[in-house]
Structures are given as structure tokens and as C-alpha cells.
């Protein structure tokens, strides 16, 4: 018995110890293997946002980026309840805290104070800032109370309003809502990553219990064909032109004459991409691609191209300038111009005679004219990679009445987009070969691999190279003292272009005194490098509403800057004067441009 008692005295504590060890080790093992061992769920899942891709210009200069920022909100109740004190110092009064907040974020003190007193609203947005100094101050709990800080990413448009119609905008969920942001949202959007694991009782992540850790994949970067310096020149020239001639809106385009790459595209009024939602529709409209209008006399070049290329007439064919001719139906007039009794087709382009080109178009016949217009791309989308491109209006020739026969050749009764017009002129500049206009150079994924790379695409050959050269020679006369656009002339460079002063259609009638002034030019005409189009849209009667007086000076300013920036050598160097020969509009526009830059508009 004594022996049994001794055994029991020994084995009982051992058994108890083993039981205790077994139980605790089982707990430890289960806790490692099964996270749901306790009733409180310490597991968590955190999504890591995939950074949205950036947008760059052709040279790799960033235009749009996603930037991490701090989003600050004010909780007036928390500010009131909490006693904020530095060690050994008395509590900070409300006004001092508010002053710290307002100073750090650059806000108005009275506004923040009013917010801090409105205790009914407990989540009041203060500001979004990327300033690390402000963050340091506001994260310091000894200085500030009642400010909640959230990390998030915003889309930063580095050039602010510049190129807004091309770049577009994103909504609050970072989904593209206009422009390239919308069209290429699929590529730009990143793939979010995630972390799954456990937290301790104080909410800190237990890194050794991380179950899933997937890194986010950033979205692809998009490289445009736009050159940011040319874009700046285009927008400055257009803004200066608008300040000088006071149209309601205006748009311009610089296109590479060989590849049809868009180097600059501007449309005013523009918008702030960060305030896209509250922007009026008129400002959201990209007038280069999404707006159709009667082009006016700039279409005369297409009529001449049809006549020359079909062999129907050459630049020397002579027409009578008499409007009332029995053979023609409802010819358009030439205003108060007094011409010689006869005029060649070439001179009709230089002087922009409606009567002569109207007669030429009438003689060509609707079918032939229509087919050439179609071949130049009118009535079809150019296929540029921007959302909402308009088709234009080019009714089938069978539906043309006799009035349209003589009006379509001078750019009435048809509607085009600026990009269609520039594309047609690009074909003339490129010896009759029409290339696909494009604005996307390449799309590169996060690993640097090209997802898409543009290769030049021929989309038509509306005219022969001989016709194109013949046309350019004829168009050279427009930007001279005898032509309609002497203000488009650039010293040292040959300019082949055409003016257009189209009456605006309001309802079903032409509105008296309202015009759209256009100049579309090819520079240098001897070896074309650029096609530049400028249109000013007048909402009210203005003195200088003609293409040669308003659009041409803007063209001259823009084309001069573009040629010098791209270091295109002059093809007529002997014509360069010793000093800059600026005319009155050049000086006014220079002053306006300077004040625009100074004001930061």
C-alpha cells in the first residue's frame, strides 16, 4: 500500500504537468494552424490599389500622373472634446488649433473656424495636399486634434488645363470619363493587389501570420504623339488670338505632314480636368474632333484638286467672273469684290472667288466632286484614337439639288470636322498620300513591354503626287500680298494655305455677321513638314472676322514658333529680313500672350 501511495505521489503531478503541457501546446499549434481558434476574428484583408498608368508626351515628358496625397477631414466634435496639450503646457485653445490647421493647409482661418463650430457635420472635407510639411504638422497629436487623415491617390494633371480635351478626366473612382483617360481606361487601370493575414488585439498586423501577399500591378503608361512645347505654343497662340479678335471659341491643330501624327491640338474654351463634373458642356467639347461645321472657302482646294486630278481643268483654265450666267444655277456671289471679267482657276484659289470655283464645281458634276470629297475623308471618321469623333455631313451626290452643286465646291452645304480638314490638307502635303491621323504613339506596360506601338498607316490616295504639287504651287499665292492671307506669310518659309470665312448657320439660315474664320496651311510648301489649322468661331459681329485677318495671324504665330522649335531650315532664306518684321497683330498678340502667361490663365 505504501509503495502504491508513493507511486501515486510521484505520478499525479507528472500527469498534471503533462496534461497542462499537452493542452497549452495544442492551443499553440491550433493557433498557428487555424486562425479561427478564438471567437474574436483577428483576420483581415487589405486591398492595395494598383496605380493608374501615366500619360506622357512624345518626348517622354509626363502630362498626367497618379500621385499619393493626404486627404484631410475635420471632425468638430473630436476637436471640441479632446484636450490637446503639450507636455507641461496648458491645453491649447480651439483658435490656436484652428490656426495651426489653416496655416498648414493654406486655408482661410475664419472658414476653418466656422467649420470647427458646426458640430452637426462630423466629416467636413478640409483639403487634399501632398505637402509633407503640412502632413507632419497635422499628424502631430500634440498640436492638432479632430483632423482625420486618409491616404489616397489623385490624378495630377501636371500642365493643368493644357491639352484638357485630349487628356480628358477621371471621376472620383479613378475611372476615365473623357478623352484618352476614357478611351484607354482599360490599359491605364492598374490591377489591385491584396494582403490577407492576422492582427493582434491592438490591431497591429502580425507579419508572421500573413497568408496572402499579392503586389499590385500598375496600369500601362500611354505615350502621345503630342509635343508638350508645341502644345504650349499652340494654346498660347490660340489664347492670344482669342484675346485679340474676341471670338466665342477657337481651335487649332498641328499635324506632321508625313505621318499625320498630331503634334498639338487645342480647343478653347477648355476646362480644368479636376473640375470636369462642374464644367459647362460647351467647354467640354473637343472642337477639333467632335464638332462639325461648314468649312467655307478652305474646301475650294478640294474642288480644285478634283478638277486638276481628274484632268477636267488645270490652274490656267479661264472662267468668266460674271455671276449671272444662264448655264449655272444659283451661283454664290463674291461680295463687293470687283474682278477682271475673267479669272484663272489658280487665281480663283488665291483670291478665293466663289463665282469661279462655284462654276468649276458645277462643271465637274456632283458625282465626281462627291467622290473626291469622299476620297479626301469627308463624311467618314478619320479613326483618331479619341472618343466621340464626329462623321461630318456629306450627303450622297444623288441627293444634291442644283444649289448644292454650286455651293458644295465652296464649302457650303457640307459639314466637316477640323481633323477631317487637316487630314485632307495632309494628303496634299504628302504628295497625295493620306495617312491615318493618330495621337497615340505607344502603350507600355509596367514591365516596360510595348503593348501597342503605332505604325504609320496609309488610308487613301485621293490625288496623284503631280496634282498635289500643282495644288501646293497654286496655294503658295494665298499667303502673299496678292492673296487673301498676307498675314499668314512667314519670312524665309513658303506657305501653301487657304483661308475660309464661313457664315454660320443658325437654325436653317445663315446668320448675318456671324462667321467662322479658318486658315489651313502647309509649311514649308517645298518640302512639307507641318499642316497647321486654325479656326476662330465668332459669336458676335467683329471687325476682323475674315480668315485672312484673324485666323491667319494666329497661324503665322503658331507656325513660326513650330518651325523654329523643330529647327526646320528655311526654304527661302533670302526672304528673311534683318530684323523681325512684326505687323500690328503680331505685336498685339505678343502682348496678349505675355499677359496671359503672367496671369497664368
Amino acid at each position: 500500500m505504501a509503495r502504491r501511495g508513493e507511486n501515486a505521489r510521484f505520478w499525479l503531478p507528472v500527469a498534471a504537468l503533462l496534461l497542462l503541457a499537452g493542452y497549452s501546446s495544442q492551443k499553440v499549434v491550433r493557433a498557428h494552424v487555424d486562425p479561427s481558434v478564438d471567437s474574436i476574428d483577428y483576420s483581415f484583408r487589405r486591398e492595395l490599389p494598383g496605380r493608374r498608368g501615366s500619360i506622357f508626351d512624345a518626348s517622354g515628358t509626363p502630362l498626367v500622373k497618379s500621385v499619393p496625397v493626404w486627404d484631410y477631414h475635420l471632425d468638430p466634435v473630436a476637436l471640441t472634446n479632446r484636450v490637446v496639450r503639450r507636455r507641461g503646457e496648458p491645453p491649447r485653445p480651439r483658435a490656436a488649433i484652428v490656426k495651426t490647421i489653416a496655416t498648414a493647409l493654406g486655408l482661410d482661418f475664419r472658414k476653418v473656424l466656422a467649420m470647427s463650430e458646426d458640430v452637426k457635420r462630423r466629416y467636413q472635407p478640409l483639403a487634399v495636399s501632398s505637402d509633407p510639411e503640412a502632413h507632419r504638422t497635422l499628424a502631430d497629436s500634440t498640436l492638432v486634434a479632430g483632423v482625420s487623415i486618409e491616404d489616397r491617390q489623385i490624378r495630377q494633371y501636371l500642365h493643368r488645363r493644357r491639352l484638357s480635351h485630349v487628356l480628358g478626366s477621371v471621376n472620383a473612382e479613378h475611372v476615365g470619363s473623357a478623352g484618352v483617360e476614357l478611351r484607354f481606361n482599360r490599359y491605364l487601370t492598374g490591377v489591385p493587389g491584396e494582403i490577407r493575414g492576422m492582427k493582434d488585439a491592438r490591431g497591429r498586423e502580425l507579419y508572421d501570420k500573413r497568408i496572402v501577399s499579392v503586389d499590385p500591378v500598375p496600369g500601362a503608361d500611354i505615350y502621345l504623339t503630342i509635343d508638350h512645347t508645341l502644345q504650349y505654343e499652340a494654346e498660347t497662340a490660340l489664347a492670344a488670338g482669342m484675346a485679340t479678335f474676341e471670338p466665342g471659341s477657337g481651335w487649332c491643330l498641328v499635324m506632321d505632314a508625313k505621318s499625320a501624327a498630331i503634334l498639338a491640338m487645342a480647343s478653347l474654351p477648355d476646362f480644368d480636368p479636376l473640375r470636369f463634373g462642374s464644367t459647362p458642356d460647351a467647354a467640354k467639347l473637343n472642337r477639333v474632333t467632335n464638332f462639325t461645321y461648314e468649312p467655307g472657302s478652305v474646301m475650294k482646294v478640294i474642288t480644285a484638286a478634283a478638277a486638276f486630278d481628274s484632268g477636267f481643268a488645270g490652274p490656267d483654265r479661264i472662267y468668266s467672273t460674271e455671276r449671272h450666267d444662264e448655264r449655272y444655277y444659283k451661283l454664290p456671289g463674291d461680295g463687293s469684290h470687283v474682278w477682271d471679267p475673267t479669272m484663272t482657276v489658280g487665281d480663283a484659289i488665291v483670291h478665293s472667288s466663289n463665282i469661279v470655283i462655284g462654276k468649276l464645281g458645277y462643271d465637274l458634276g456632283p458625282q465626281r466632286l462627291w467622290s473626291y470629297m469622299r476620297a479626301f475623308g469627308f463624311g467618314t471618321k478619320t479613326g483618331i484614337e479619341l472618343p466621340g469623333e464626329e462623321v461630318g455631313i456629306l450627303p450622297d451626290w444623288k441627293r444634291w439639288d442644283k444649289a448644292t452643286w454650286s455651293r458644295a465646291p465652296i464649302g457650303q452645304g457640307v459639314a466637316v470636322t477640323a481633323i477631317q480638314l487637316a487630314s485632307a490638307y495632309q494628303a496634299i502635303a504628302n504628295d497625295g498620300v493620306r495617312m491615318k491621323p493618330h495621337i497615340i504613339k505607344k502603350i507600355v506596360d509596367a514591365n516596360g513591354m510595348d503593348l501597342y506601338s503605332h505604325s504609320d498607316e496609309v488610308i487613301g490616295r485621293p490625288i496623284s503626287s503631280n496634282t498635289a504639287r500643282m495644288l501646293r504651287n497654286v496655294m503658295l499665292g494665298v499667303a502673299t500680298k496678292n492673296g487673301t492671307a498676307r498675314r499668314a506669310a512667314i519670312p524665309g518659309y513658303s506657305v501653301a494655305g487657304k483661308t475660309g470665312t464661313a457664315q454660320k448657320v443658325i437654325g436653317r439660315h445663315y446668320a448675318p455677321g456671324l462667321y467662322r474664320a479658318t486658315f489651313c496651311g502647309i509649311v514649308p510648301a517645298s518640302d512639307p513638314k507641318l499642316v497647321v489649322l486654325v479656326t476662330l468661331d465668332f459669336d458676335a459681329n467683329r471687325k476682323f472676322h475674315q480668315g485672312g485677318n484673324s485666323a491667319a495671324p494666329v497661324f503665322r504665330r503658331l507656325a513660326t514658333a513650330a518651325l523654329r522649335y523643330l529647327m526646320v531650315p528655311p526654304d527661302r532664306p533670302d526672304e528673311i529680313p534683318e530684323d523681325d518684321d512684326e505687323d500690328e497683330f503680331d505685336q498685339i498678340m505678343e502682348e496678349r500672350a505675355r499677359s496671359i502667361v503672367e496671369a497664368g490663365v
Binding site: T61, R160, D208
Partner: protein, 137 residues
């Protein structure tokens, strides 16, 4: 004697049992201590991983913010505005203001700028000669 022999046998059995149990207990405690040490080292590692992850995120964000700030400062508009602040207004040079040099530092032939410069200098020489001739007369 017999009794003593019995007790000593019993004592030796007891001692060997205690040795076994002691060994088991020792192993258990060693394991516990090893577990504790490993756990503590894991905790240290975990804290350091967490700290490094936070640091990496912060540095990446700082870099993104700084690069965006720098990019925004370099825009043509801001550069122009900065120049205007100092009363400077810059234009692209005309073709006759550009001199392109070859690798030896000599101006390349056929340039408008060079032609104009040489024309100007020859005009100046001619004028000087004419003036000198007039003085001599």
C-alpha cells in the same frame, strides 16, 4: 541484509524513473524556451518587416510626390512665367541667328547666319576703306 538489498533495489528503480521523467521535463522546458526564443525573434523580425514595409511605402510615395512636383515646376508655362518675373522674354532664334558648328568648332558652310555675318563684316571693311580714302583726300 536482505531488507537493505530490497531497499537499494527499490531506490535504484526510483532513481531511473526520476531520471526519465526529469529528462522528459527537461526536454519540454528546453522546447518551451526554444519556442519562446524563436517567437521573440519572429516578433523582432515581424516588427522590422513592418517597419521596412512602411518605410518603403513612405519613400515610394515621397518619390512619386517629389517627382510630380518637379515635373509640374518644369512645364513650359511655369518656366515662361519664371522668366517673365525677371523681365526676360525668350523667343526661338531665327535661322539667321543660328550658327551650326562642325566637330572642329568651325561654322558649317551654306548657313544664312554666316553669309549675313560675312556680308556685314565686308560692308564694314568697305565703309572703313572709303572713310580712310576720304580722309586721305
Amino acid at each position: 541484509m536482505k531488507k537493505n538489498r530490497k531497499r537499494s533495489k527499490k531506490m535504484s528503480v526510483m532513481a531511473s524513473r526520476s531520471m526519465h521523467v526529469g529528462g522528459v521535463l527537461m526536454m519540454f522546458f528546453v522546447m518551451v524556451i526554444v519556442n519562446l526564443l524563436a517567437s521573440s525573434s519572429c516578433n523582432q523580425l515581424m516588427k522590422s518587416i513592418g517597419e521596412k514595409e512602411r518605410q518603403l511605402t513612405k519613400l515610394e510615395n515621397d518619390r512619386a510626390r517629389e517627382s510630380a512636383r518637379w515635373d509640374a515646376m518644369k512645364t513650359s508655362e511655369n518656366l515662361d512665367r519664371a522668366l517673365l518675373k525677371f523681365g526676360l522674354s525668350m523667343k526661338y532664334p531665327r535661322a539667321d541667328q543660328i550658327v551650326r558648328m562642325d566637330s572642329h568648332g568651325r561654322p558649317k558652310p551654306g548657313q544664312l547666319s554666316v553669309a549675313r555675318a560675312s556680308r556685314r563684316s565686308s560692308n564694314a571693311v568697305n565703309t572703313a576703306q572709303v572713310n580712310r580714302a576720304r580722309k586721305v583726300r
